[in-house]
């Protein structure tokens, strides 16, 4: 699946998007996998309460299922307007 990052999450991880092959059942499971990869992921996901997640371009929750999901996006709370 496609994983995309925005704002300081993108900066900490050091890339805007990547293809991730994973059997993670939920967003939380995926985060655990990513954190285990490298320090920069651990830094980006250190405080989940400071993050938001969208699944296929819809805001979602960290315990949501990834079944059938093609794109996961991680970013800080939005600051539009």
């Amino acid at each position: 699946m496609n994983v995309v990052y925005f704002a300081w999450v993108r900066e900490r991880i050091g890339l805007p998007q990547e293809t991730v092959t994973s059997d993670a059942a939920t967003v939380n499971d995926l985060i655990v996998e990513l954190i285990a990869r490298e320090e920069r992921y651990a830094a980006a996901f250190a405080d989940i309460s400071a993050l938001r997640v969208a699944l296929d371009q819809e805001l979602s929750d960290f315990d949501a299922s990834l079944a059938g999901v093609r794109e996961v996006a991680f970013f800080p709370p939005m600051t539009g307007g």
């Binding site: 925005f6 704002a7 805001l59 794109e71 996006a73 970013f75 709370p77 600051t79 539009g80 307007g81």
Partner: protein, 146 residues
Amino acid sequence: MIVRVQSDVFDAGAELNSFAQGRHDIGAVVSFTGVVRDTKGDLQEMLIEHYPGMTQGAISKIVQEAVQRWDLADVLVIHRYGPLKPGAPIMMVATASAHRAAAFEAADFLMDYLKSRAPFWKKEITNDGAAWVSAKDADEDALNRW
């Protein structure tokens, strides 16, 4: 209902004048323009990042919600991304209705939701460096008004 996401500057006055033009069932038009603020005088530019695949859809959903709640003749949302200079327009909302209360409330609602639910992130480049603008608890709390 028009939603535009663009890097180009827009002309708020021209947008206001062409908005809901020629309709005679409208008594009230409310507009909001967000401007790059530089209170301390040290801002070089504001960088606005967005999530291209999601932005248009997220804004349209917010607009649909407003249209369901209030009796609106028309709605306009323009939101820019990319580098913006101090004093530049960031975004604009306009609402048209037969009555002023609906136009005011819907514009206020749209702004609250665009602030916290449209996928934009602001970064300020000042003389002292760069910093992402933090979301305020008050902005999230504002959603509970609706």
